[in-house]
């Protein structure tokens, strides 16, 4: 084999389509096998570049070539079933005597395919990220049902939470008189459904006044104010919540087949708040202040709110309270208790 044969073989075996066209009319003078395969109509003279290439402008191409520059475009051809993407470039033919132009065609199908795939996958990832984000928000919401936001943040950042002492907080305990009897004698599903309704409304009221609902145990409802963020108005807030609860129940009883009679006990004092549990979490509060609230509630009359001395001291100027007398409270000795009758704002919180 000599150089000539080698060159010829090379030309026809490369994966690039090559053609030499004349500068005047762009007729094909020479071409290799690949070019012939991709542009058979142009080689045969049945089509011109203007027919086949998008945006082909003979004048523009001629001008660029004259300036020693190249002109490029992309096109899709379909010699067989599968379409091929080509990058076509018009280049001044080196050493050409009469200003001939070299046309080079590169198969960029693979690149185009990959571009498409990258686009497709990045969309897929974006979609999955959005789904993940939604899921994360859902999980966060669930966790925030169990513990206050601040505690959740602490848990998220450190993986653990530490019990925190709050010097001054107010605890509200509510339950319903005769609930057990109601549960036994009435249809339980309806009863529980109503209880659920009531507690949901309570939750709204609690939120409205910037307090936290801690938990419900059967028919008992525990709320707190002044934690996890310190708040000087905690006693006031809890008092308003209590008054609203009672007002709500009065109204509800007008239209309900059940008569809901609550008892509310409020105490103000030091409290410790903590997440309890390892696998199953609950955020709970501890301390004598908490127990006292429960015991105050126990001596309460139906549809009344009882508060301890600590609470009284905080709210006496803004709320109407009456002396309920001194009571012996197990574990605390004699305690002065007060009945919360309403506040001083007319037509608002009075029962």
């Amino acid at each position: 084999m000599d150089m000539e044969q080698f060159r010829s073989m090379l030309l026809d075996s490369v994966g690039v389509g090559l053609a030499v066209v004349d500068h005047d009319g762009f007729g094909v003078l020479l071409h290799n096998a690949m070019f012939g395969e991709w542009f058979p109509d142009i080689v045969a003279g049945d089509s011109t570049f203007a027919d086949v290439l998008p945006k082909f402008d003979a004048e523009l191409v001629t001008q660029k070539i004259a300036e020693g520059e190249t002109w490029k475009c992309e096109v899709e051809v379909k010699p067989k079933r599968r379409a091929i993407s080509l990058a076509v470039e018009f280049v001044p033919a080196a050493g050409a005597g009469h200003g001939e132009i070299m046309v080079q065609c590169q198969n960029i199908s693979k690149i185009k395919e990959l571009e498409y795939m990258i686009e497709s996958y990045s969309k897929m990832i974006e979609r999955q990220n959005r789904d993940l984000k939604k899921e994360k928000e859902r999980v966060e919401k669930l966790l925030l049902n169990i513990m206050p936001q601040q505690v959740y943040e602490e848990w998220k950042e450190f993986g653990v939470t530490t019990p925190q002492r709050f010097d001054s907080a107010s605890v509200l305990m509510l339950d319903f008189v005769g609930f057990t009897q109601m549960a036994v004698s009435q249809e339980p599903t309806k009863l529980i459904s109503e209880l659920n309704d009531i507690f949901t409304s309570f939750d709204r009221i609690v939120e409205q006044f910037g307090c936290e609902r801690l938990k419900t145990i059967g028919d008992a409802y525990v709320a707190v104010s002044g934690l996890p963020e310190q708040n000087p108005d905690h006693a006031r807030n809890i008092a308003r919540v209590a008054l609203r609860f009672v007002r709500y129940l009065h109204r509800r009883n007008e239209n309900s087949e059940f008569e809901w009679k609550c008892r509310v006990g409020i105490n103000t004092g030091a409290v410790i708040g903590s997440v309890v549990g390892v696998q199953k979490y609950v955020y709970d509060i501890f301390g004598p202040g908490v127990n006292l609230a429960a015991r105050i509630e126990a001596v309460c009359e139906p549809m009344e709110i009882l508060v301890g001395q600590g609470t009284y001291d905080e709210i006496q100027n803004e709320f109407r309270l009456s002396d309920f007398g001194e009571h012996e409270i197990r574990g605390f000795g004699p305690q002065q208790l007060y009945r919360l009758d309403g506040d001083f704002t007319p037509a608002n919180d009075s029962i």
Partner: protein
């Protein structure tokens, strides 16, 4: 921890090469070539890459429902399906997939035959 076939053979990059080679055969086949006239090949290769990847334990997944919807208008018969299976098998061999792994992939494909074949020659 066992690696998925997807990880073992090099992820999307490899699978897309396999799929591309498979389609070269597919369009040249007299039996199933006609299905690919006037089709957006890029989208086709993309979908198939995702599908085969999912069969190999990679990300993305196609529910049986989705598969059925996509193929329902094509009236694919068993002969065409088997031709596709044959060509895919050849391609996997050419890419030096291990025999056992090829069998696993083919098994996944064959288990979905009834979803894809919608034309039955009596």
């Amino acid at each position: 921890m066992s690696r998925s076939l997807f990880d073992k053979y090099g992820g999307f990059a490899s699978v897309s090469k396999v799929v591309s080679a498979f389609y070269d055969k597919a369009v040249d086949s007299d039996i199933i070539g006609p299905y690919f006239d006037d089709i957006d090949m890029r989208a086709q290769v993309d979908h198939q890459t995702k599908f085969i990847s999912s069969l190999m334990g990679g990300p993305a997944s196609y529910s049986d429902e989705a598969l059925q919807k996509v193929h329902s208008g094509l009236h694919i018969d068993r002969t065409s399906f088997e031709e596709m299976v044959k060509l895919l098998h050849e391609t996997l061999e050419e890419f030096a997939f291990e025999r056992a792994d090829i069998e696993q992939i083919m098994h996944e494909i064959n288990s979905r035959a009834d979803i894809v074949i919608t034309r039955h020659d009596s």
